[in-house]
């Protein structure tokens, strides 16, 4: 490709520029909304495909660097495209291709003015995420990071006339900025006091920090990126902000934006600090396990579909952190090969989550568009009205529940394999902790399975549960248009491809790993893995073949079907369901989403802050009431808010609005400064 003179980095920058131009032209074309949905969003999807292609290309190339003559005087902007950035570009491009296609159909009904603004914010959001991945200095990184935060804030508050959405947007902006401050401080620490020229990532890689300062940089970065990723206790914005946005935007926020935080963590910990310590790994493991269990347990309590999916994003961030933590513990204790496997598992799950969570949010968007319903307790029987959406949603639900042969299973399987490397460790505590963390992963996986049986069973299966007040509207609900279906089909295809050909993904991630840590998978894994077999360490230790698996199950199913038809018959009669001798059953007697979560409330009761009103049998006006809240609000956020209000009320004592008082303040400040300097 050198002959043409185009490098992957040029192509990536070109795609980013195209996104920006598309965004601006959306603003210009706001009087012609059909052009925005008909041309600009599909073009944006093509740019996304180009970004993904660039990522695939750049994975095999040496890192490309560029210096842009922009920015402040003497502080130019640096760009770099290495395998880690390339992998995340594949994720960004692949997921946003499907989402942009879906958006082209989804936003058709939107008014021109709002649509123009939305188009600008949407494409700016995509471009800023790509720039975050390409940035090679702290300045460029922070600019892109803040652009991403602001554009996503405006996307979240698209329906800003709703007070709750404004509130959710504010909370999001607040925590995003607390996180950004921590990230900036972390960059400051990593710069190592080498003056203003040392703001590039290259200088930070060179700087040798003492264990104290490198731990400080790690903690700040972990806090800052964790706030963006939604790890506990910094997660409270996520279940409010993600559902507030229009559904394709929710898909991007959950599927892609959270991953930029994972990217930042990996970049800072493995690349910029470099000298990974195992204690950090244990911290990340503990936070990851807590985040994961918290996310899924609260997801089980939700009846708003999009909010439930947002809680699952928290859970999946926890799973990714679990993989990262295991990897860091192994690397810190001198087992880089096992550490590489953990990192690969974490990054694999990052990609998988982008695909299936994007798909599920698009499915939720289709339901919302077609029927106007978000509350699971009002849904039911949608599989009959929107069979195609039901099919795609089923694939997403099976993938997120980590069921073979889809993609979610592969990454969790790799994590279990990493945990089983524990006997090589000499540190007894970490060695016996790792399998226990793996057990929490198994618990979370099984709970996710329960949660998606609930979602799918209540939304798509069963009979419609219309509330009493609303007259039944049989016509509502239909499959979305062709563009929207294409978007969902693309992501569903991704679930299959990533699940059925895991070796290619693993070998691709191995390159990322080698470029970051200098170590990759063992020789047994590299020789044993091919299109049929996935071998993480050595072929006699573990192997998995999704293709054989799928082929055998499908063959056995077909054989059974044919044998039953050949030797018996396929006769069917239809009648009413069996009513257990009580003919007055109504659809309202099916489980609601809240009822389905009742066993979990029973088993994990102390985790929730519950207000319940259970009417007694002799209550003349029985009213069932259940409210579940997050304990974090009460022990962390509300006290912090009260503290901030108290402090600001004290500071307000200084303010009287009279000019002479302010002159006296200035005078005292000057005196104090003179005394010190």
């Amino acid at each position: 490709m050198d002959a043409i003179g185009i490098l992957p980095l040029d192509m990536a920058v070109g795609a980013i520029l195209l996104w920006m131009v598309l965004g601006l032209s959306g603003l210009v074309l706001q009087r012609l909304p059909h052009l925005i949905t008909g041309i600009i969003f599909p073009l944006g999807a093509l740019a996304a495909l180009a970004v993904a292609g660039t990522g695939l290309w750049a994975l095999g190339e040496p890192p490309g660097v560029a210096v842009l003559p922009l920015g402040l005087p003497d502080l130019p902007l640096h760009l770099r495209l290495d395998p880690l950035a390339a992998f995340f570009l594949i994720l960004l491009g692949g997921a946003s291709f499907g989402v942009s296609l879906f958006s082209a159909g989804y936003f058709r009904a939107m008014a021109g003015g709002t649509l123009g603004l939305l188009c600008l914010e949407y494409h700016l959001f995509l471009a800023s995420m790509a720039l975050v991945l390409l940035a090679d200095d702290a300045y460029m990184f922070m600019v892109a990071w803040e652009t991403m935060a602001l554009s996503s804030y405006f996307l979240v508050t698209t329906d800003h006339h709703v007070p709750d959405i404004r509130k959710a947007g504010f909370l999001y902006l607040l925590i995003a900025h607390v996180g950004a401050v921590a990230i900036l401080l972390s960059f400051g620490v990593m710069q190592g006091g080498h003056g203003i020229g040392a703001y590039t990532f290259a200088a930070m890689r060179e700087a040798h920090l003492s264990p104290f300062w490198s731990s400080a940089a790690f903690l700040l970065a972990f806090f800052g990126f964790g706030a963006k990723a939604g790890m506990i206790p910094l997660h409270v914005w996520l279940p409010d902000a993600h559902p507030a946005a229009p559904s394709p935007v929710s898909a991007l926020l959950s599927g892609v934006m959270l991953k930029t935080a994972i990217y930042g963590m990996v970049r800072v910990i493995y690349d910029l600090i470099g000298n990974v310590r195992w204690e950090w790994g244990v911290l990340v493991l503990a936070v990851g396990a807590a985040t994961m269990l918290f996310g899924v347990l609260f997801a089980l309590m939700q009846h708003d579909l999009k909010r439930l999916l947002a809680y699952h994003s928290i859970e999946n961030i926890g799973i990714i952190l679990l993989g990262l933590g295991m990897s860091m513990a192994f690397i810190g204790l001198g087992h880089p090969v096992a550490g590489a496997l953990g990192l690969i598992a974490a990054l694999y799950h990052t990609l998988n989550h982008a695909v299936f969570k994007g798909l599920l949010f698009l499915g939720a968007g289709s339901i919302l568009h077609a029927s106007g319903l978000r509350n699971l307790n009002d849904m039911g029987g949608l599989i009959r009205k929107m069979p195609k959406t039901a099919f795609y949603f089923l694939i997403g639900a099976l993938a997120i529940s980590a069921l073979p042969p889809l993609n979610g299973f592969v990454s969790e399987w790799l994590m279990f394999q990493t945990a089983l490397q524990a006997p090589t460790l000499t540190n007894d505590i970490v060695r016996s902790l790792l399998p226990l963390f793996a057990a929490t992963l198994a618990l979370a996986g099984a709970l996710t399975g329960m949660c998606f049986v609930k979602v799918y069973g209540i939304a798509f299966l069963g009979r419609p549960r219309e509330p009493h007040e609303r007259p039944s509207t049989p016509g509502t609900g239909h499959d979305p248009s062709g563009m929207e279906q294409c978007g969902m089909a693309w992501l569903a295809l991704g679930c299959f491809v990533l699940g059925l050909f895991p070796s290619y993904v693993m070998l691709m991630l191995n390159r990322v790993c080698v470029s970051l840590t200098g170590h990759g998978l063992s020789a047994g894994a590299l020789t044993g893995s091919n299109w049929l077999w996935l071998v993480p360490t050595a072929s006699e230790r573990a192997s998995y073949s999704p293709i054989v698996f799928m082929a055998v199950i499908v063959a056995v199913m077909l054989l059974t079907f044919l044998l039953v038809r050949r030797f018996y018959h396929g006769r069917v009669r239809f009648c009413d369901p069996w009513d257990c001798g009580f003919p007055a059953q109504t659809p309202r007697m099916q489980d609601t989403a809240d009822a389905f979560g009742q066993p979990v409330r029973h088993v994990f009761g102390p985790i929730y802050r519950m207000h319940r009103e259970l009417p007694g049998p002799d209550d003349p006006a029985p009213r069932f009431f259940l409210k579940i809240e997050d304990r974090h609000w009460y022990w962390l956020y509300l006290p912090t808010a009260r503290l901030a209000e108290f402090a600001s009320s004290k500071v307000a004592l200084l303010q009287h609005g009279r000019i002479h008082l302010y002159l006296i303040y200035t005078f005292i400040t000057l005196l104090v400064l003179l005394a010190f300097v």
């Binding site: 069921l403 192997s543 998995y544």
Partner: protein
């Protein structure tokens, strides 16, 4: 030699596929017969499950008006999953070509896949009992799955492999060692087996009292060939679980790599173990009373803790 071994392996794999699917109802019949004897009844006879299946296959399927395609596909999916699961567990010889495709973790995944589909099918018709069964089944599953994985982890850490053939090879064909960690794991495994196969004390396979049912509540709407496949799948599941137990805790007698002469002995040993396991299961069910549904978390929590104890003992004692 390599080629003949592979051919023989594939032949053996096909034999095991046929064997398990034909034998599973017999195992069910044996357990029921033992139960009948323990309850001082004469019992329906060993071959009753086959007669029931034959009767069901001849009947017309009755479906609810609202049944979706998912409802009609589920019996085939569940049957396929369980058949695969039972066929890849080495119970006669370790040379099973399909076995490396799914290790113990993937095996848990197969069971989970089948369970999710049957729970979804239960919610498809939209009756109160179907959703009740699905909800309870998922409760049992999220408690039992981590415990089962812990049991598998213990044996994987001892044998340094998650593949069942290698685990069996380690336990059966190397010097005989008593593993204290496996003793804990085996008790945990029996508890999980009872819970996952809808046996007493967690569920009662012969109940028809709707409020206490779990598994039966989920399949209330199935009839004829669909019901036959679901029932056949549950007998395959029982066989698969007992096979896992045999492979992990009683692997003596299973033919090693390339050791084809040991096959007749291996088949005899397998039959003996299955007869003993079926009788043991019936005895356990006769001795324990069914527990309330919300005692199940304690029961399975105990199983999980036992499995974790086994794991920690492995780390402490190195065995």
């Amino acid at each position: 030699m390599e080629n003949t071994n592979l051919t023989l392996g594939i032949l053996l794999q096909l034999c095991q596929l046929l064997l398990v699917v034909l034998m599973a109802p017999l195992l069910m019949g044996w357990v029921n017969q033992c139960r009948a004897w323990l309850q001082n009844r004469s019992g329906p006879g060993l071959l009753q499950p086959y007669c029931t299946l034959r009767k069901l296959f001849h009947k017309d399927a009755v479906l609810a008006h609202d049944a979706s395609p998912l409802f009609r596909m589920t019996p085939y999916i569940v049957f396929g999953c369980m058949w695969l699961a039972a066929a890849i567990i080495p119970i006669i010889a370790v040379d099973l070509p399909f076995s490396p495709a799914a290790d113990v973790i993937a095996l848990v995944g197969i069971f989970a896949l089948a369970r999710v589909f049957i729970a979804l099918a239960a919610m498809d018709i939209g009756t109160a009992f179907g959703t009740l069964g699905a909800r309870r089944e998922m409760l049992v599953s999220f408690l039992a799955e981590p415990a089962l994985l812990m049991v598998f982890f213990t044996s994987s850490l001892i044998s340094h492999s998650t593949q069942l053939p290698h685990i069996v090879e380690t336990f059966a064909h190397h010097e005989f060692v008593l593993y204290p960690s496996l003793a804990f794991a085996s008790v945990a495994f029996v508890m999980i087996l009872l819970a996952e196969n809808a046996r007493i004390p967690v569920d009662n396979p012969s109940t028809h009292l709707e409020l206490t049912m779990i598994h039966e509540a989920m399949i209330l709407e199935y009839s004829a060939r669909h019901l036959a496949l679901v029932e056949w799948a549950s007998s395959l599941k029982l066989l698969a679980y007992i096979s896992i137990g045999i492979a992990l805790f009683l692997p003596q007698g299973i033919a090693g790599v390339g050791n084809w002469n040991a096959l007749p002995l291996a088949v005899a040993a397998l039959l003996l173990k299955l007869v003993a396991a079926g009788a043991g299961l019936a005895l356990l069910e006769a001795l324990i009373a069914k527990m309330r549904i919300f005692r199940v978390p304690e029961f399975l929590g105990t199983a999980f803790l036992l499995a974790v104890l086994g794991l920690l003992i492995h780390f402490l004692l190195g065995a």
